[in-house]
Amino acid sequence: MSNVVIRAERLGKKYTISHQPSRPDLHSLRAEIGQQAEAIWKKARSLVRNGAIVPRRDYEEYWALKDANFEIGRGDIIGIIGRNGAGKSTLLKLLSGITEPSEGCVEIEGQVASLLEVGTGFHPELTGRENVFLNGAILGMSRNEVRKKFDEIVAFAGIEKFLDTPVKRYSSGMYVRLAFSVAAHLEPDILIIDEVLAVGDAEFQKKCLGKVEEVAHSEGRTILLVSHNISIITALCRNAVLLEGGKISNFGPVHETVSQYFLRGKATSFSVEFEPTRNDAGSRGAMLLGAQIQDAGGRPKGEVDVHVGCKVIMRYRVTNDMTKQAHVIFRFWNSEGQCAFVSTQSGGPFMRGDYQAECRIPPELLNCGLYFVDVALMSTQFGEPHYFDEQSLLCAVAVEQTSEAREIEFDHAHTAAGVLRPKLDWTIKQLT
């Protein structure tokens, strides 16, 4: 038995998309009917002659996935990320055997269960109990297996009271909870999950994630996971695939892949230079020249060790002398778009010239995950706050370097909740 369970070679999938030919000269219903009749006649004729029913020119070929080569080992948890239409779902469909590849091949060892949608095959008229069996069979469980796990499934979903109610009467939350919990109790060798973890309320989502982790850490199970929620990906996966325009542009450690994902998309990086000739920015009196994330030692780096901290460097140019105070500002955002914190420093008055501001992000402040940093330059010169320049182009990935010397404070430190994870001073004393 080899250790590679999925091997894809030159895997590609082509779709033909049809274009509705638009005819701007058609205005009346009569003309339209005439055209339609003509089209039907042509189709009938070519059908008899065994030709193509739709003229070739209305078709365009589109490669949803092209030239994908990769190997996935037993027990790996692989995240798949990419923008909409990058080919993620196509890849999952090919791997689960729902569609056939147009070229190349994929070899899979072991039983595959795919969860591309929550509640596939649920029938609204059937009761919760009946649907558990139906859905279980659809996902590849045997009746005995479902029967054995039935109580567990129902308890996980928390719908004991409504077991014999048709699911069409369920609230949408109950519906997805039941559907997910059937899927969560699958025990295939390879589990393929497409963006379905974000169901139910926050508490249930946490339960789902815990369940996936539990499944993942159980013996030798391979999981492929598509999600737009980068924090889920970084929390669960060690490796990730980045798809861009149907091609695999990166397959490697999750943090590397995730930062590349953001780098490409938003032209974000850990170091940027701003064009000094931008219109009107300079004429207002000051402008940003560049910004950078550096590690504690001063080297430009996009990967930050949470136990070491980092530096944010901003360079700016003052074009007109400023008599009042000016402020340099940066904000840290997490990957879900929440602002983690803001930091400003006031200075001035500033004479004409170039300046550099440096701020140290202390160790034990950031949580693991991806942060975006935007920078700004502001002044109250004219009475009210005036922004000279704003740029939001930095990104940093905070990671925890695993070193054995590091004491294990949280068992699952890398999944600790929160935008930040500061280390605070505690005192514990005995009272009695």
């Binding site: 469909k93 056939e100 591309l116 059937l126 069979a137 659809i138 996902l139 048709p166």
Partner: protein
Amino acid sequence: MQRHFWRKAWRFRELFLILAWRDLTVRYKQTILGLGWAVLKPLLTMAALTIVFSALAKLPTSGHAPYMILVFTGLLAWNVVAYLISETSSSLLGNHNLISKVYFPRILIPAATLLVAVVDFFLNFFILLCLMAYFHYLPDWRILFLPFFIVLVLLCGFGPGLWLAAINVKYRDLRYVVPFIMQLGLFVSPVGFSSNIVPERWQLLYSANPIVGIIDGFRWCLLHGEERLNLSAIGLSILVSSVVFGLGLRRFRATERTFADLI
């Protein structure tokens, strides 16, 4: 490859059973009469056909069989064919969410329809036996040949159903054509009347419709052989049904890989 196909289908047999069970269970949910409809529908059809063809058109029955029984035996076969053709042909479309989201051998979906048709058949058969008991007209030894015709009627309906199902995925036009043909078929086939009333010289042409041979066969088995055993019609029926089934299965297997992309 051939063996592979069937072995895969066998591995998913539980899903097949559960799909058939779903189709059966769902049918009479949220109805007052429930299973009553399964009894009422054929009886009402039988009554209507009897009134039109016997009471109004004064067509003869075969031998001594009550006209109602004659009609019901015809319906017994016809319902299987009609159900299979209309339901199988639309079965893939009806389960498009499964096809595009889960992998399993696609043949399971039409096969589940086949199982439902079998269950329906036996329910109808039971009703027929009750009717026959009521008329004190019970079948004789010829009923032993009925299983052969049951298999034939399933084949006759499943073949075109499978074929249409595969085509239906790509060309939805069939959705409008099939119900119309089925409506026509009820009157073209000898359901409400005995095929004896068709003039002798047209008989062979008439039996090109494979249902003719099957209905004649059903009546021979159940009506004391009073409907003559039309061997050429039955032979033709076997031929047409098997050829159509073979073509249908071939078409299905050739296109099933693309179902998820087209549906």
